[in-house]
Structure formats: C-alpha cells, structure tokens
C-alpha cells in the first residue's frame, strides 16, 4: 500500500512526485516509456534518430525501438506530437516558461476582460496562483534567455511593431521580450566556443547554444544530470524526486518504474484503490494499492486511461475541450545569416493577451521541411482545399512541394527565420479524445484524437489571423525579402484541457483542488487539467505550478499536512545535494 501512485513522469507527474516525496510520502511513479539514463551515450541529437515519431528515441512507445510506435487514430489532416519516457514531452520542449495571461483566471477585471475564453476560466485568481508560479520558477529554475543571432533578428523585427518591451514576469499588455525559459544561462566558455575540449563541464556551464533542444538536452559534456542546461523534468524534478532524502528533511525518495504502462485505475464505490500496469517488454502485470492516485499521462493518454478503466463520466466531459493552440507557421527568407540552427530553439517572443503569442523557432532541416509541407490549404499553386489564405505574406498559404520546397531550402536553412503563432484557442466540446474503434493494443483500446479543422470558434479564427498578420509584419520589419505562411492543420504538441478543471460541474472533470469530481482520492495533475489554453503562452510552467498547487491539496486533504508554498523557501533543482546524491546512486 503506497501513499501515492503517480501515473506518468512527464511535465506534471514529475512535479507531484518531487513535491510529495519532499514531504516524506511513499510515492510510486509508473512511466509508460523509457528512462534515458545516459543521454550522452544514447542520443545522437540528430533529428531522425531523435524525433522520428515512428522510430525516434523521443517517440510515443516502448523502450524497444525495434517495436512499432504506439498507434493513435487521427481521423483528419493533423499530426499529434507527444513523447513518452521520463521527462515526457519536456524532453523535446524548448524550455519556454512564460506565465499564463491574467485574463484566463477567475476574477479578472482588466479592460480586455471579454477578449478571452470567458466561459472556461481557471476557477481561481491570477494573484492566488502567483506563489505557485514563483515556486516552480525557482525550482526549475527559470531565467531570462540570452540572445543569439536569430533572437537579434527577431527582436529587431519586434522593434518595428510599436510595442513596449516586457520586463516583468506578468504580461500586462501587448509587448515583446526575450523568453523566460527553463534553461541554465551560459557560463564559463559556453556559447563562446566550438572547441569540444572547452565545451565540457565545468569549463562550460549551462546552455552551449548547440541548437538541439528538440532532440533532447545533454549539454554540457560531463555535466551531472541535474546540471544539464535544459530543465526538462528528467533533468530537474525527477532527479530531485529520486534524491528527496538528501535535500529535504524527512524526504523520502520515490520508487520509479519505467517502460511500464498503466492499464487500469482501480476503484471501489467511486473511491480510488490503486492501479494495474503491464511491463512493456515482458508483459508482466503488476498491481499496487494507494491512498491517492494522480493521473499525469498527458492530454491524450489520461482520458484514454480513464475510458479504459471504465471510470464514471457523468457530464460527458472526459476527453472533451481539447485545446492545442491552433498553431500556425510563418517564415521569412533573408539575405544574410539569421542563425536559425544555433542556440536555444526559441528564445524571443511577442505577447498579445486576448489573442495569443508569436515566437521565433530554429530547427534542423528535416523538421523544417516537415513544417513547410504541412498545411490545410493544399499544395501551393495547385489547389487550396477551399482555403489558400492571402495577407501580408507572399502568395497563398499552402504546402511547399517539389521545386518550390527545394528552392526555399536551398536558400539556406540559416537564412530562414521561423515564427510560430500560438493561438489562444477556445475550449470546444467537439475537439476531443475518445476511444478508437480500431483494434486495441496490448494496453487496451487506443485513443482517437478528433480535431475539427474547419470548426474552430470564431474567436479562435480571429486570434489566429491576427497573429499570422503580426508575424508577417515582424518578419518584414526584420528584413525578410519573402514571407510564407503555412496555415497548418491541427498539430497538437501543446495539448491541454481534455480533463479540465472548472468552476462548473457541468463542463469540468476536476474541481478546483485537482481532484476528480467522479472518483474520490483520484487527482489529475498534467496539462489535461488546465482549464483552458492558458491564453496562448507555452503551457508547461502553468501545468507545473498547477501540479504544485494540487500536491498541496493532496497533502492537506488526505495526509493531514500543512501547505508549504507560502511558508517555505523552494530548493533549486541544481542544488549540490541533489548532484552529490545522484553521483552516489550512479545516476
């Protein structure tokens, strides 16, 4: 009998595990994918080896890469981009850690209050939530990003937009800034050298500007795991959870089981009893009981597990309300080097509360080519699927294929600057996760992810058009000689709100403490619990702050403890006690 079982060691589950382990609870974490124990020996940091959704080390599937990836039904033009394994999708994230806009929280009374998804606000105020942001920001830790060439070019474009620079944690209005990100700043020779001898820890510390955030961070060479530059949870929260006794008085290290898929959350009279999981390699089935279970598999896997466990769904909102930031992609060609392939993958941004945000992105050439062929507007110059949008970009939106794709990429990867538009999209009941009618895999029925590409709300469409226009203006301001807009179909890689937290019992799955309305002692603390799209800002920090808040509620309600965020000081994940214990444990 465990105190707590956490399902999933990604962006949210790792936070719950660390916070509760710090307070002495007996925590078991079961993760469906692998733990990459030695990334520098295991990871090439090349994009097919890393990111191929079928075979890459950052895919959704079991550790054995000779076996097929997990199948998820996508009944439309779309691409679902998630990652299993310890660290979850934070393994390939860019580390960007902005706060959600205040307008997405209850009680907001700013002059633009009607600009947001007003039907689906978080059930507490921004000011009530700030201490949890501060706690997560200090733990990761979050810093102001440094600038490389592509940031200089992006910020030069921002300077032509007539916007102020944001120099606060809270976004107070339309503005631009370097990212606040969970990447350790460059120290020593990092960022100043290409000499491998100097790129070793401790001669180099923090970000080495290698340009491979999306392929998983393993820099600098020889750095201890909790001093890797990017603070994905396999480098930050999980190392803390595994060493909780070393840095927290009374702390108890977690038990971590990996490459094992939870197939059932067991309940009795609508109270959780425990979980059952299956080892991916051997098929061996295990089961444990717990006082509390926390589901953290992500916005697709958590509703899947809920359905496969045949848990109650009285208001039919399990899996509904999927927000994905309705991403779009605009890029410009430049006559000079803009450094796209170097440095943190995105380190500058423009915020438009009420609409969403734009940010720069640098990629390797394969995923850049993927991004340029991905469109809901058909093949440029040939057909439009009834779209083919026009605006301050050149020509119509659409896929670049054949000679045009080749010519654009031959212009030079490092003379292309990308801007991704991240939309404040509405919670919509029809965008949802259900179970597929296709055959089940060894873990049960597989999820089906339905996005109605042409059925987005008027506000979501308005916001996306606004951001795409601003992106094109920014690129022209920065000196682009030609600008393309893609009009992406659904690309859920920011995935949220399928098990949403809300005020109303009519359209939410968890209450304001994170506990599910239908099953007691069962909590949800991944991005599926977000109430809405967070206004557009990258969601991970908000998920982590919310998971921290939910951890306090678990500790108070079921273990008689006191909350800690307002009364204690957080320990930073780079703490030397974590480093030393990891070394003692051979981790």
């Amino acid at each position: 009998m465990r105190d707590v079982i956490v399902i999933g060691a990604g962006g949210g589950g790792a936070v719950v595990a660390k916070e509760l382990a710090a307070h002495g609870l007996d925590v078991l974490v079961v993760e469906g994918g692998p733990r990459h124990a030695h990334p520098r020996q295991e990871w090439s940091r090349l994009e097919n080896d890393a990111n191929n959704p079928l075979t890459g080390y950052l895919r959704v599937g079991q550790a054995d890469r000779s076996k097929p990836a997990a199948y998820r039904e996508l009944p439309q033009n779309s691409f679902l981009w998630q990652v299993s394994g310890v660290g979850g999708t934070t393994q390939h994230y860019f580390g960007n850690s902005p706060r959600a806009y205040p307008g997405v929280f209850a009680g907001y009374q700013g002059p633009d209050t009607d600009m947001y998804d007003v039907q689906h606000r978080f059930p507490f105020s921004y000011s009530d939530f700030v201490p949890y942001y501060e706690w997560a920001e200090a733990t990761l830790p979050v810093h102001t990003a440094p600038v490389g060439t592509k940031e200089s070019v992006y910020l030069r474009g921002c300077e032509t937009l007539g916007l102020p620079v944001q120099d606060t944690k809270t976004t107070l209005g339309p503005s631009y800034r370097p990212q606040e990100n969970a990447i350790l700043p460059p120290g020593g020779r990092a960022g100043l050298t290409t000499d491998p001898a100097e790129l070793r820890h401790p001669t180099s510390t923090g970000c080495t500007f290698c340009g491979h955030c999306f392929q998983g961070c393993a820099a600098p060479i020889d750095a201890p795991r909790n001093l890797f530059a990017k603070r994905s949870t396999d480098n930050s929260y999980i190392p803390m959870a595994l060493t909780a006794d070393a840095w927290s008085p009374g702390g108890k290290p977690i038990t971590l089981v990996t490459d094992a898929t939870v197939t059932k959350v067991r309940t009795e009279r609508d109270v959780v009893r425990g979980v059952t999981w299956q080892d991916n390699a051997t098929g061996e089935v295990s089961s444990e009981d717990a006082a509390v279970v926390v589901m953290c598999g992500g916005a697709v896997e958590t509703p899947r597990l809920w359905f496969n466990s045949e848990l109650p769904n009285p208001n039919d909102w399990v899996g509904r309300g999927f927000t994905d930031h309705y991403l779009d992609w605009t890029f410009g060609l430049f006559d000079s080097d803009v450094g796209s392939s170097k440095g943190p993958s995105s380190a500058a941004r423009t915020d438009y509360p009420g609409y969403g945000m734009n940010m720069n992105v640098g990629l390797m050439p394969g995923i850049e080519a993927f991004a340029m062929t991905f469109s809901d507007s058909g093949i440029r110059g040939h057909y439009t699927n009834g779209r083919g949008l026009t605006g301050p970009w050149d020509g119509e939106t659409g896929r670049l294929v054949g000679p045009e794709l080749k010519d654009v990429l031959m212009h030079g990867l490092d003379r292309i600057l990308n801007v991704v538009s991240i939309v404040d999209d509405d919670v919509t009941a029809d965008n949802r996760v259900t179970l597929s009618a296709l055959p089940a895999d060894e873990n049960g029925a597989v999820p089906k992810v339905r996005f109605v590409n042409r059925g987005r709300s008027k506000r979501s469409v308005r916001n996306r058009e606004f951001l795409a226009h601003r992106a094109a203006e920014l690129l022209r301001g920065a000196g682009a000689t030609k600008v393309y807009r893609m009009d992406w179909p659904a690309l859920p890689l920011h995935t949220h709100s399928t098990m949403r937290m809300g005020h109303s019992e009519a359209d939410s799955v968890v209450d304001q403490t994170g506990e599910t309305r239908a099953v007691k002692r069962l909590f949800i603390a991944d991005n599926s619990a977000l109430s809405n799209a967070a206004g557009g800002p990258n969601p991970t920090l908000t998920t982590q702050a919310l998971a921290t808040r939910t951890s306090e509620h678990i500790f108070q309600r079921y273990f008689g403890g006191d909350p800690w965020v307002r009364s204690q000081a957080p320990t930073v994940s780079t703490d030397g006690r974590v480093t030393r214990r990891l070394s003692e444990l051979g981790l």
Partner: protein, 301 residues
C-alpha cells in the same frame, strides 16, 4: 465483386500490376502461364509460384510508385524527376534514398492495424475498377485464363492481411488515383502509373485525397466494418499529408548516412548539403551575443 475479365484487366493495369508482372515474368518464364482452369478451383496455396511472382512484382511496383512520390516532393537529376517535368541538377530524394526511408517506415513501423490496411487494399482492388480505361498496345496481352489467374493471385494476397505491406496499399492508392487523373498513365515508362504523371497531375492526385471524391470515400467506407464506417475521408486526408511530410522529412534529415553504432553520420546527408545545414561539433556553437538591453533578469511583478 467484379469478375468481368475486361474490367479485371483494366483494374490490374490501373494499379500498375500488368506491367509489373510482364517485367517480372521475363525473369521467371512460364510462371504466369499456369492453367487458367486453376482459377476456378479455389484459393491458392502459399507455395504457389505465381503468388511468389506476384508478391515480387507488387513489391517492385510499390518501390516504383514511392520513387514517383519522393521526387514529387524533392526532385533531382533522376529519370522520375525528368518524367514529371521538373528535373534538377542538384541531388534530390532519390539520392537521399527517400524511397527506402518510406518503405522501411511504412512496412515496419507504422502501426496501422491490418483491420484498416486490409479493407483499404480491398477497396482499391474491388471498388475502383469501374472507370473504363483504354489499355495501350505496349502492355503484354494476357490470355483471359492467365489474366484471371493473376487477378486471383492479387485477390488472395490482398485478402491475407499479414501479407499486405502498407507501402503496397499506398502504391495501390496512388496508382488508382493516377489513372483517374490521367487514364493514359496505365502505360509508358516505369511500372507505376503514378510515376508516369506530370508534376501537376501528381498534385491533382493529392487534391483528390485531400478533397476526396464521394465515390472514392464510399468505396473505401463500404469495405470498413461497422464502427469504422465514415472514417475514410479523414483517413485519406491524413495519409495525403503524411506522405508529403514524411517524404520531405526523410529527404532533409540525416537518415541516409546515419550510423547507429557511432550515433553520427558517415558523410554529409543530401538534405544537409541542399539546405546548407552544418551541425558543427554538435556539442555547442559560439553564438552567445549577450542579453537584450543588458537585462539578465526581469522584475518579480
């Protein structure tokens, strides 16, 4: 099920198989010339040499079709690019081994359940043979008995879910669409009708997948079991996109020269050369320029 020999000849020509078997038959003389009467005697044994021959021909057909697809996305100096009218001097998808990348991915790693792949193949085998296409003289005419033999071998292979590689299903789909776009594509250079299309005609075939015609959708839907009916249009939309995006990704990533043992490339991949990508030493770049406006920290507010 349509069994009219004329229609079946048309169907086999349209998916590219008549030409493919004609080529393979030259390697295995007599294999196709099995007695037509056997067609009426029921299912073929797995050891039947005709099944082996047809299997080989179908694999070659699939590869030829994917050659035509890969150069559609990234053309180069090869014959397939020339045939679509977009020959280029620089290397392209063929030089990047993108067809291998596609076949390997589709057949070994795309976890599309047989319950989807089988009906799709079956729909293409049964449901799209209605449009009459004049066969060119160049195709080796098969006597009716042999034609039925061949047709039955194809049906046997497509009915057996375990033997339908996804690359073949994709090839059947692209070739069927190709002959809808341009009926004359049933004959000419290459094995694959899709590979014979011009660039604009290939784009039209993709339009038909992304804006699927009702007839195509219903033909596939009819083959799907109850709970899956109605999914054909979404499936076609997804496949159309994935084929283009994976061809692009496969050509520009490191796949063709990657060495798993050393976790590095053995030579500069085609896509890196084309895009001017330089990974440097992988471990870092001298790219740090400082902090915007000198600010290393924002206010806590």
């Amino acid at each position: 099920m349509n069994t009219d020999p004329h229609d079946r000849r048309t169907f086999l020509a349209r998916i590219g198989l008549l030409g493919a078997v004609a080529g393979a038959g030259a390697l295995l003389p007599g294999a196709v010339a099995s007695p037509g009467a056997r067609a009426a005697s029921g299912a073929r044994a797995a050891s039947d040499p005709l099944l082996g021959l047809v299997n080989t021909a179908l694999a070659e057909l699939a590869r030829d079709t994917l050659n035509g697809l890969a150069v559609f996305v990234v053309p180069g100096p090869d014959a397939y690019s020339a045939a679509q009218g977009t020959r280029r001097d620089e290397p392209g998808a063929m030089e990047a081994n993108t067809p291998d990348f596609l076949i390997e991915s589709l057949d070994n790693y795309v976890p599309v359940p047989d319950q989807l792949a089988g009906p799709l193949a079956s729909a293409l085998a049964n449901g799209l043979a209605d449009v009459d296409v004049p066969l060119p003289d160049g195709l080796r005419p098969l006597p009716t008995g042999e034609l039925l033999d061949l047709d039955q071998a194809v049906r046997t292979l497509l009915r057996n879910d375990e033997t339908v590689p996804l690359s073949l299903v994709i090839a059947l789909l692209l070739n069927s669409l190709a002959t809808l776009v341009n009926p004359a594509a049933v004959g000419g250079a290459f094995l694959s009708p899709f590979a014979r299309l011009s660039f604009a005609e290939k784009a039209e075939a993709f339009r038909m997948m992304e804006e699927p015609a009702a007839g195509l959708v219903s033909a596939i839907d009819d083959e799907l079991s109850g709970p899956l009916q109605g999914t054909a249009s979404g499936l076609l939309e997804f496949i159309a996109g994935a084929l283009l995006e994976f061809s692009a990704f496969g050509t520009y990533c490191e796949s063709s020269t990657f060495d798993p043992a050393s976790l590095s490339v053995t030579s500069t991949p085609v896509g890196w050369r084309l895009s001017g990508y330089d990974p440097g030493v992988i471990a870092g770049w001298d790219e740090f320029q400082g902090y915007y406006q000198g600010r290393k920290e924002v206010s806590a507010r």
